[in-house]
């Protein structure tokens, strides 16, 4: 039996704790003061307080390592976000003799640097969107940028080398914009990532975002678990994720998956990771990046493959061999995951921080999976993210899966904060979504989905009046 410290909070902390406990290990949670009553603290075998936070203690490598030492943990699972893709953290674990459940710090360093990553991929003949290496500083860099633009044409993406997760990216449409925004992008990148390196990439117009889950042991075995489509995004943040990709041509899918395996091998990848691609209208695909962590949307892959990715991560990190071969991985049916957030979609997805979940009822039944952090009485934190629960549904056919998704969304009862559910209910009824016809321009082109009426059922309204009559001991609207 081992002890695993989960260096995260939220639903992913619970996800890892569950896997650890199922394996017979002990799970150690860490928390900041605002998370004192959080669910991950309750379900862990032990919990260690880091500090008042917010966020800064979860990001404090020294404190997390100290907590691991204090609890006698053998390993650390970083989850996603916070320190998950910080190579310093993986390095610190390695130095402290703790097993870091993920790739090595060297891999994280290489793949976290967009430019190095592109060099590795180029060497392995992985198809990539035309782009530059880090632009030279000052005017020289601007001249390089303008030359690139005249060769490949606009639009062009200007990206921060140290950015990620949709941050530090801007679209440039002409020379004058390039002149204006290049220095701004540098200043911003410096402030946000403490690194002012930027580079350019040709824009692929309205691509699909297709990614491949890969998993690799330390003995050279790399297996992929098929594709996911995460095209439905809002400002580069994923909202809906499905597995597998709905691209009909299986030879393309196979080719993408093989390329992903090749990319993982080229980077000496170990443990679980995700290789992201853009696929254009002509089904040409381009390598984007490798995410060196467990993804939010890993659940859809688990549903269609039956493989517990987090469990596998832990086993591989402790030096086990992969127990399955590529040909044993079978994709069965379809899965869709939606992030039920405490946000008001009509108000620019503004988080509903500070509101309390008075009532929480979740759906159940066949093909339904919930990865939640919410409970009745939960107060939406103002200092962390607003994810309440991830709903993942699995079905035999795409249509069946969509029907199940709609049913589940309707079965939720969440009273207190506004949530993304009413918006998702519009989305599942959209004919393009039902046809599986979506790319990264989907939300832009379907802005009307946000025009839904705030739903309040007749019985909820009446019940509110009855509560008032009961409280006031008379109907103040009738006397």
């Amino acid at each position: 039996m081992k002890k695993i410290l989960v260096a995260n909070r939220g639903e992913i902390a619970i996800r890892v704790i569950r896997a650890a406990q199922e394996l017979g290990h002990k799970a150690v949670a860490i928390y900041e003061t605002p998370d004192t009553e959080a669910l991950h603290v309750r379900v862990a075998d032990e919990a260690i307080w880091l500090g008042d936070g917010p966020r800064k203690d979860y990001l404090d490598i020294a404190k997390v390592i100290k907590a691991a030492r204090k609890s006698g943990a053998d390993a650390i699972h970083p989850g996603y976000g916070f320190l998950a893709e910080n190579p310093e953290f993986a390095k610190a674990c390695e130095n402290a003799g703790l097993v870091f459940i993920g790739p090595t710090s060297e891999v994280i360093t290489n793949l976290g640097n967009k430019v190095i990553a592109r060099e590795i991929m180029a060497a392995a003949n992985i198809p990539m969107v035309p782009g530059t290496s880090n632009l030279s500083p000052g005017d020289e860099g601007l001249q390089e940028a303008l030359a690139f633009a005249s060769e490949y044409g606009y639009p062009i993406m200007l990206k921060a080398t140290a950015g990620g997760g949709g941050r530090g990216i801007r679209r440039i449409d002409n020379d004058s914009q390039m002149r204006e925004e290049l220095p701004m992008a540098r200043t911003e990148a410096k402030a946000a990532f403490d690194n002012d390196n930027v580079y350019l990439e040709k824009v692929v117009i309205n691509p699909k975002h297709v990614e491949v889950q890969i998993i690799a042991d330390s003995f050279g075995e790399v297996v992929h678990l098929g594709t996911r489509d995460c095209s439905i995004q809002r400002r580069n943040q994923k909202l809906v994720e499905i597995a597998p990709s709905l691209i009909q041509d299986q030879s393309i899918i196979e080719s993408i998956c093989e390329t992903a395996v090749k990319a993982a091998q080229a980077s000496n990848y170990t443990n679980a990771g995700t290789v992201e691609f853009l696929v254009d209208k002509d089904m040409k695909y381009y390598f984007m990046e490798i995410n060196t962590r467990i993804q939010v949307e890993h659940t859809v892959t688990e549903m269609v493959t039956g493989i517990d990715i987090v469990r596998t991560q832990i086993k591989l990190a402790f030096g086990k061999k992969l127990l399955f071969k590529q040909e044993e991985v079978k994709i069965r049916g379809h899965a869709i995951e939606m992030r039920i957030n405490a946000e008001d979609p009509k108000n620019n997805f503004m988080p509903e921080g500070g509101k309390t979940v008075d009532i929480y009822r979740s759906p159940g039944g066949y093909g339904v999976r919930l990865d939640g952090f919410v409970y009745q009485g939960y107060t939406i934190p103002e200092v962390y993210d607003s994810l309440l629960v991830k709903l993942t549904v699995h079905g035999y056919s795409w249509n069946e899966t969509v029907d199940r998704l709609r049913r589940c969304l309707k079965n939720f009862v969440i009273i207190g904060p506004k949530t993304t559910i009413p918006f998702y209910l519009e989305l599942v009824d959209d004919p393009d979504f039902q046809k599986g016809d979506f790319d990264t321009s989907y939300l832009e082109m379907h802005a009307h989905l946000l025009d839904y009426e705030e739903q309040n059922t007749e019985i909820n309204k009446l019940a509110k009046l009855i509560a008032e009559i009961h409280y006031n001991e008379e109907n103040t609207y009738a006397v």
């Binding site: 309204k461 009446l462 009855i466 509560a467 009559i469 001991e473 109907n475 609207y477 009738a478």
Partner: protein, 636 residues
């Protein structure tokens, strides 16, 4: 003979009425609700009785109009149009009847012509029989409604309001009938509106006979109240002398001030050889069997005083105002003064002001004046705005005589003659810009209103907006029975409340515990359709009233007014703020208009100066001493 039903052409219906051998009954459920239950009988209850009332084959069901349109939105939280729609679904044949206050429509003061016509057009889509009256019996005040009802081809029922006294002769009333017929033509029903239940059976019999003598073909509908317990006598006399339709209601709900029981009327007249045409007695009994179980839930709204009031012949309060008068007396703590008010002051005021008809809005003027006269011990010293308007003839000419000069002098001061000459006479009310009002309402609601919503809004703007917002928040609450909607003292722990919603879906709400937490918040737990719900309420600071300090005395409020600090002198609602900030005002300028007990009164400046701050806004409910606005007097 063919049955008179909804949808029949009004000329055909009138032809059947003229040839009737026997009489017809109108079930005045609305007037019963208004007179004996402060207008609170819910649509839910009327829907329960709908089937048997439909089967009873009444001439009509009086189910809307009077104050009910206002109370529908104000206290019952039901849309007055939806109410008629839902009743029509269950009652396809019965004609619906309304009571319309002429130029005052379903409100308490005159509306512009275009608003009246718009409202009548919208309601005429649901209402078959239009009883129309004016408290001064001033026919021009009813003309717009007459015309619109006739344009809509509905049955028009102009009323002569009835009262007693030397001026109230047959000759006078026959003359009024002539005046009405000259305007409407002969295809009408004439209503004798005996809203106080005044006079003896003999007197009513004579009056009906006198009208029938002059107009043998005229169909007469007698309407009375049972305040003195003798309306069946008057009804009997009316029918025996030629009235074709009479009013009564379901015995399970009859009280003291409204209509008498239908069955008693039927039995009495049967013995005189008069049959209630088409009437199904079993269905009349069945309605009361259905309704009987509901009456307990309305107990709170029944009169504080039980028993008939034969002294109505002295004070003449209309049946519809009896309950609310006693309620005001209890709330205003002047119950001990009621004998003086009712039996001495009110009759005196009545004679002094012209012995016209004590019915809305005139009855409120008489009542308020009498109460103020007694409580302030200064007769006519605190005139309401509506009394002033009455004296200036704004509601119409005095039918018999003008009040004495001393009353004018007391109310208006020595310059009253000039004032009367300058401002006297019926007020011409300018048409409203209805499109503009539609936009104002749309802005207040945040969406485009329906035409029906606009009609409701034009009559009672603030109450209508409050109702529409209530409905958005709480839904269609007519589905709740009185046992739920009117419950007092809270529900019992574990009690199950069952009802169907507007869409017909069945629901169960179980009452859970009520708990207070350390933050003084109350949690109410309900189990709604098997799902637990929690509702949190913040306890209102009880010390608020104490912190506000002792209530200002009348003298203090008057002194503050003389310093430019205008306060509410009594509990009232703000109807209008006339003054604007930074505006200069003179002594006597109208600053605002407030309303209490259905009476509007202007707030008049006591000082010359500049308005510096407006503290109240339209729609505010003010308590005694609450701030309205502040004027800084000019420093010389």
């Amino acid at each position: 003979m063919k049955r008179i039903v909804h949808g029949m052409h009004y000329k055909e219906a009138l032809q059947i009425l003229r040839q009737a051998d026997g009489y017809y009954l109108t079930n005045t459920a609305r007037d019963l609700s208004q007179s004996d239950f402060k207008n609170r009988i819910l649509l839910h209850t009327d829907l329960l009785a709908a089937e048997s009332r439909e089967n009873a084959n009444y001439f009509s069901l009086e189910i809307t109009g009077g104050a009910s349109v206002h109370v529908d939105i104000l206290r019952k939280q039901v849309d007055p149009f939806l109410k008629l729609e839902l009743l029509r679904e269950k009652m396809p044949n019965t004609m619906f009847q309304t009571l319309c206050r002429g130029v005052n429509l379903f409100g308490y003061r005159p509306y512009p012509q275009n608003v009246i016509r718009f409202a009548v057009r919208e309601f005429a889509k649901y209402v078959d029989v239009w009883r129309v009256f004016d408290f001064m019996n001033h026919v021009p005040n009813m003309q717009a409604v007459f015309e619109e009802v006739q344009l809509a081809e509905k049955i028009l029922e102009p009323s002569i309001c009835f009262s007693t006294g030397p001026e109230h002769s047959d000759e006078f009333y026959v003359g009024k009938v002539q005046e009405i017929l000259a305007v409407t033509g002969e295809d009408i029903i004439l209503c004798i509106k005996n809203h106080g239940g005044l006079g003896t059976p003999k007197r009513i019999g004579e009056l009906v006979a006198a009208i029938k003598h002059k107009y043998p073909e005229l169909v007469i509908h007698y309407h009375g109240h049972n305040t003195d317990g003798n309306d069946i006598g008057r009804i009997t006399a009316a029918v025996l002398n030629g009235a074709t339709i009479v009013d009564a209601s379901d015995h399970a709900f009859t009280g003291y001030y409204g209509p008498p029981p239908l069955l008693s009327v039927i039995h009495t007249l049967k013995d005189y050889g008069k049959e209630a045409i088409d009437l199904n007695e079993d269905a009349v009994i069945e309605s009361s069997e259905v309704l009987r179980n509901e009456r307990d839930h309305y107990e709170y709204f029944e009169s504080q005083f039980k028993g008939f009031s034969p002294t109505v012949q002295i004070h003449k309060l209309p049946g519809g105002a009896m309950g609310s008068s006693f309620e005001q007396a209890v709330k205003g703590r002047f119950l001990d003064k009621m004998p003086t008010i009712l039996h001495d002051e009110l009759p005196k005021v009545q004679i002094e002001l012209g012995n016209w008809w004590s019915v809305t809005p005139g009855s409120q003027i008489l009542w308020t004046t009498a109460v103020t006269n007694v409580l302030e011990k200064d007769r006519y010293g605190n005139p309401s705005g509506d009394l002033k308007n009455l004296l200036l003839g704004k509601y119409g000419p005095f039918p018999f005589y003008r009040p004495a000069d001393w009353i004018y002098e007391k109310v208006f001061g020595t310059g009253w003659q000039n004032l009367l000459a300058d401002e006297g006479g019926v007020e011409d009310i300018e048409d409203m810009d209805i499109d503009k009002e539609r936009q104002v309402l749309a802005d207040r609601l945040g969406h485009k209103p329906t035409e029906q919503q606009l009609v409701t809004y034009l009559q009672h703007p603030n109450d209508a907006v409050n109702f529409f917002k209530f409905e958005e928040e709480f839904g269609k609450v007519y589905v709740l029975p009185p046992s739920i909607f009117l419950r007092r003292g809270g529900y019992k722990l574990g009690e199950s409340l069952m009802f169907k919603d507007h869409d017909g879906k069945e629901h169960v709400i179980e009452i859970g515990p009520k708990q207070k937490n350390e933050k003084s918040e109350w949690s109410i737990y309900l189990n709604v359709d098997h799902q637990e719900r929690n509702y949190t309420f913040k306890e209102e600071a009880k010390e608020g009233a104490a912190a506000a300090g002792p209530q200002l005395s009348k003298k203090e409020i008057e002194d503050l007014a003389k310093a430019g600090d205008m306060r509410a002198t009594y509990s009232c609602n703000v109807c209008e703020i006339v003054a604007k900030e930074d505006e200069e005002v003179a002594v006597g300028d109208k600053l605002a208009v407030v309303e209490a007990m259905k009476m509007q009164t202007p707030v008049v400046s006591q000082v010359a100066g500049t308005v510096v701050e407006i503290q109240a806004k339209v729609g505010d409910a003010l308590k005694v001493g609450d701030k309205i606005l502040k004027i800084i007097t000019e420093v010389e």
